[in-house]
């Protein structure tokens, strides 16, 4: 049937045609069209007859009670900050530290740069610097308190400072993706698909061919050979789209299907590499080996 004919049938069914003559003529001339009209009319009338349903009073009371109980524990809604906003203090701190090291190295030429690093840390700490700068200072001072010789202490302190800063970063963003991926990979390896947020898994679940093509594209781009799609998972973060739906993509059927897991050896998931593919961009975002 042509689009125009389908439009006529739908219009006639819904009673929205100004002039029904063309549609009626179509029905009269073709049993196939008449049959389609009857089917559409049967379903439409049944659905319209069902009509909208309202909450009853006890349901309404329960809804309000439950929502308000939950809302009392939640902060007021606020506009969302861009992702980079959370890293601004860290970046600012790093810039201050790096800039100060460069300047002091230039001015003090020859002095142990690691010792200088400790001094900068102290000055930033006392000056109420950014969170990361404070961390740097705290780590360095801690080493000095424990240590004895300033230059040796400084050397260790610099190493520890770097480590401490690296450890601080996940605190700035508690949902560090790699942690989430590796923990999800562990669930997949153990067959805990519910924990992993699996929508489909194994060879027998039907998968949209478009998603398979996306995974193939990601594997080729990453230079990974012999991998096959094993599972499709819910998005692993809690971010939402503009419409507020958690982990949604563009269609309802794939509403939470944001990640795929591919492996070269689905028969032995305990040891096989697992590649996580972002299905929005068709790229490998994490490889668990």
């Amino acid at each position: 049937m042509r689009d125009h004919e389908l439009e006529l049938i739908a219009g006639l069914v819904e009673g929205r045609l100004d002039d029904e003559a063309e549609a009626r003529a179509l029905m009269a001339s073709s049993p196939q069209h008449a049959e389609e009209y009857e089917a559409q009319k049967l379903a439409y009338d049944a659905l319209r007859e069902s009509g909208s349903v309202a909450l009853n009073e006890s349901e309404r009371a329960e809804l309000h009670r439950e929502v308000w109980t939950a809302l009392r524990t939640q902060p007021a809604a606020k506009a969302k900050s861009p992702w980079w906003y959370r890293w601004t203090p860290v970046a600012a701190g790093l810039l201050v530290v790096a800039g100060s090291v460069a300047v002091l190295n230039q001015n003090l030429g020859g002095q142990d740069s690691l010792e200088t690093f400790a001094e900068i840390g102290s000055s930033l700490d006392s000056g109420g610097g950014t969170e990361s700068a404070t961390t740097t200072a705290a780590a360095t001072q801690g080493e000095t308190r424990d240590g004895d010789d300033s230059s040796d202490g400084g050397a260790d302190g610099a190493t520890d400072t770097t480590a401490a800063m690296a450890e601080e970063q996940p605190e700035a963003d508690s949902s560090a993706p790699d942690d989430v991926y590796s923990s999800t990979a562990a669930d997949v390896r153990q067959g805990n698909y519910e924990e992993a947020g699996a929508l489909t898994y194994g060879a027998s679940d039907p998968v949209d061919p478009g998603l398979e093509a996306c995974v193939t594209e990601a594997m080729e781009a990453a230079g990974l050979e012999g991998y096959e799609l094993h599972a499709i998972l819910e998005g692993l973060d809690e971010e939402t789209d503009e419409n507020g739906a958690e982990g949604t993509s563009t269609t309802l059927s794939e509403a939470t299907a944001e990640l795929a897991v591919a492996t070269p050896d689905p028969a032995d998931l305990s040891a096989a590499p697992l590649a996580f593919v972002d299905l929005a961009d068709c790229v490998v975002v994490y490889l668990d080996e």
Binding site: A39, A46, L55, A77, L199, S204, T240, G244, T250, L252
Partner: protein, 181 residues
């Protein structure tokens, strides 16, 4: 003042910390959200859970609403996604590790007939439809929303809505016909 303008004012108050304004938004939309969820989930208890989750999500995400659509449309979209998320969770809870075949249709059909106040044969027929078709016919033919609004809620083009509604009705008629035989 139009409903949309009134909703926008209420939302602005919510963002300023006025929880009573959120109550008003909830009152404006709770029946339709519940109705959509009931048709999708086929069970009043589950529909009520989904309605609660919808409004909690709407509250949490109120700051992300950009006003590109009516507030109601945004809330119904959250509702549809919430309902399908809950159905998926139910499906996952029902399966044992690594099944060879997963067929949620039977479970959905069983639950569908539990829904109070709905004609069981229609709810069974609805439950037998795929998610795509079911949501399109529910929003269009039961809730009576216009095609552009259905398109916004589902995040698909209007032409796709038309096609899903048309095919959904045809499949529904087949199921209703089979049940009557």
């Amino acid at each position: 003042m139009t409903t949309a303008a009134h909703d926008a004012q209420l939302l602005a108050r919510v963002l300023e910390g006025d929880h009573d304004a959120f109550t008003q938004i909830m009152r404006n939309h709770e029946d339709r959200v519940f109705s959509v969820c009931l048709r999708i989930m086929g069970n009043r208890d589950h529909a009520l859970d989904a309605t609660q989750e919808t409004f909690l999500t709407a509250f949490r995400k109120a700051g992300q609403f950009q006003g590109n659509s009516a507030l109601g449309t945004w809330i119904y979209r959250i509702a549809v996604n919430t309902c399908y998320d809950q159905l998926r969770r139910q499906k996952r809870r029902r399966v044992d590790p690594i099944p060879d075949h997963v067929d949620p249709a039977d479970h959905l059909a069983e639950e569908a007939v539990e829904s109070a106040g709905l004609r069981p044969e229609i709810q069974r027929a609805l439950a037998a439809l795929s998610d795509d078709y079911r949501s399109a016919v529910i929003l269009s033919d039961i809730e009576g929303l216009g095609l552009p609004e259905v398109a916004e809620i589902l995040g698909i083009p209007v032409g796709t809505v038309k096609s899903r509604v048309f095919r959904g009705r045809r499949l529904l008629a087949q199921h209703l016909g089979n049940q009557n035989q």
